[in-house]
């Protein structure tokens, strides 16, 4: 039925399309998506910035502008401590995902010549990404606990006589958990960049007598840098916005800015939560901007 109605006026439309209708059509195709993002992404973020200057009373906020919440944030040991913990955990996880992920990416992207095998290995690395994030976090509890799998194995082979208690409910467990969950985002981009290296370049270096380390330092590492930067951006944004891993594995010992936001919202301290959110946004923006300075991605990709 609708088909007949549309076909009626088509000849005119097709004739006019390239000249007048085009910008119009683009506009209507984009409008719903762009509007959705403006209303439900940009507006909430702006609201967060705005509310951070509101006045916080015990259970509610009033739209009287003040710097009080900001002053409270930057004079409180709890908040500053959370900021410092966030930065520290982020740096450690960034380095550990790179160190853990790079060799695997090197093998998958450069050493496996068989395309099917390297794709299969990459898929194997990505599959956990499809399973529930919370379950993967929770899976570390029976691994790291006092009676957990790692302690049990270590005691059985006689490396230790007493279980290592620091494995779970500590900063270490948060770092281990985050490294495992996020290193996939490092491996993918790096393996992709390594896969694009022309093998003849490496062969030429070999023929001229360069050893592996020399080739690695002068060819492989520089050419993989865009992958490292992309991976670092992924990992940084996700780790800085984290709160679930520390909630599950640190036993409340590690408080990230994300955890502060969750607790503040829970106790209806909206203005404080907003301040923590804005600080987190600024931190994230600075980190991404700094990483983009390291390598000019547009030129390299």
């Amino acid at each position: 039925m609708t088909m007949a109605a549309t076909s009626h006026d088509t000849p005119v439309e097709t004739a006019e399309r390239p000249t007048r209708k085009q910008p119009d059509r683009t506009f209507w195709l984009l409008a719903p998506g762009a509007l959705w993002m403006l209303l439900f992404l940009v507006a909430p973020i702006l609201m967060m910035v705005y509310v951070s200057f509101w006045t916080q009373t015990t259970f509610k906020i009033e739209p009287t502008l003040t710097l009080k919440s900001w002053i409270t944030f930057f004079t409180s040991d709890t908040y500053l401590g959370a900021l410092w913990t966030t930065v520290r955990i982020w740096l450690i996880v960034l380095v550990s995902t790179l160190l853990v992920g790079y060799p695997a990416a090197l093998f998958v992207g450069l050493f496996v010549k068989n395309k099917t095998l390297s794709t299969a290995l990459l898929v194997l690395c990505v599959i956990p990404f499809w399973t529930s994030f919370l379950i993967r976090v929770l899976a570390w509890r029976p691994m790291l606990g006092k009676e957990g799998a790692i302690n049990m194995i270590l005691m059985k082979i006689g490396v230790i006589t007493q279980p290592i208690e620091v494995l779970l409910f500590s900063e270490l467990s948060v770092i281990i958990g985050m490294t495992q969950i996020y290193c996939v985002f490092m491996v993918g981009p790096i393996a992709f960049m390594l896969g694009r290296i022309d093998p003849s370049v490496i062969e030429a270096a070999q023929d001229l007598g360069a050893g592996f380390w020399r080739i690695f330092r002068t060819i492989i590492l520089p050419l993989s840098m865009p992958g490292v930067v992309v991976g670092a951006i992924f990992v940084s944004v996700m780790v800085l916005g984290e709160f679930a891993t520390s909630a599950a594995l640190s036993g409340r010992k590690v408080n990230l800015l994300g955890n502060i936001i969750v607790t503040q919202v829970g106790s209806l301290k909206w203005a404080f939560a907003a301040v923590a959110g804005v600080v987190l946004t600024i931190l994230m923006g600075a980190v991404v901007a700094a990483l983009l300075r390291v390598v000019d991605l547009r030129k390299e990709l």
Binding site: M3, T14, L29, P32, F40, F133, L138, A139, M152, E242
Partner: protein
């Protein structure tokens, strides 16, 4: 370079790396078969049993361990994932369709869309909670949480479709238009079958991401729990193997989705090949 030695070393490393990725999930799966209700979430397995799976479905006599609140949560999570999947796929296809033509301001719009997958859930979630709080809107999983799920999954759908349209030969469409086929019909008969693999991928992304999403939901969904929120609720208390059993089931569900996707994808590729052969003959 002594490539073979290094290659062997890196191969062994990669194998260990994969053990590192999968080890915890395997341990979790094994422990889900612990005996209950007295068996705890650790080794050794006292006796193999499916007690915790029965516990999950309320088939065991009441014990001191409360069952996970999953029946209603499962419905909500599935409904939310389907809603998110439909809306974000439609938005992704239309937006990517617009990007096939060059237009002014395309850079800004591109970053506006991609921002949705980059901004952490805790920030948009908080922002949305503040907006709802100020405007006096009640937060619900089907309202405030749903729009945030789309904010998160729409960029994935958009990027997938962008990649598909990049490899797409516009001359087939132009041929249809010049033969007087109306645009809506051209889309249905020509464009859509060609972009179908992309649409399928976008749908899989959107469904899975929404089904597992929880940081946005935590702030924006109000009182009613979705599945991930039910799991998150167990974080602060002692964990029992019933959560592990649930983890196994939900992982199997994700794999089943992935399998269905692979089968559908294979069928569509085969059909495309058959059509190509017919055309040649």
């Amino acid at each position: 370079m002594n490539a073979s030695g290094i290659k062997f070393g890196l191969g062994v490393y990669t194998a260990l790396f994969i053990v590192f990725l999968y080890g915890p999930l395997v341990v979790l799966a094994i422990l889900s078969f612990q005996t209950g209700p007295e068996g705890g979430p650790q080794f050794p397995i006292i006796e193999w049993s499916t007690y915790w799976y029965k516990h999950l479905f309320g088939l065991t006599p009441p014990s001191r361990i409360a069952p996970l609140p999953i029946d209603q949560a499962l419905f909500r999570s599935l409904a939310l994932a389907v809603m998110t999947m439909i809306v974000s796929t439609v938005l992704g296809v239309t937006a990517a369709q617009a990007f096939r033509k060059k237009f002014r301001g395309s850079g800004v719009i591109f970053y506006l869309i991609v921002l949705g997958m980059m901004v952490p859930g805790v920030l948009v979630g908080l922002g949305m909670a503040l907006v709802a709080n100020t405007l006096g809107i009640d937060r619900h999983w089907w309202g405030t949480a749903f729009v945030l799920h789309v904010v998160y999954t729409f960029p994935f759908a958009f990027l997938v479709m962008l990649a598909i349209f990049n490899r797409f030969d516009p001359s087939v469409e132009e041929a249809a238009w010049s033969l007087g086929v109306p645009p809506a019909r051209t889309f249905r008969k020509i464009t859509f079958p060609l972009i179908f693999p992309g649409v399928l991928s976008a749908m899989l992304f959107a469904f899975t991401l929404s089904y597992d999403e929880f940081s946005r939901t935590l702030f924006a969904s109000g009182r009613d729990l979705t599945l991930p929120l039910a799991i998150y609720g167990t974080f602060s208390v002692e964990v029992h193997p019933n959560v592990f059993a649930f983890g196994v089931l939900t992982t199997l569900f994700s794999f089943a989705l992935l399998g269905t996707y692979a089968v559908l994808m294979g069928l569509s590729v085969r059909r495309a090949k058959r059509m190509a052969i017919q055309e040649e003959a």
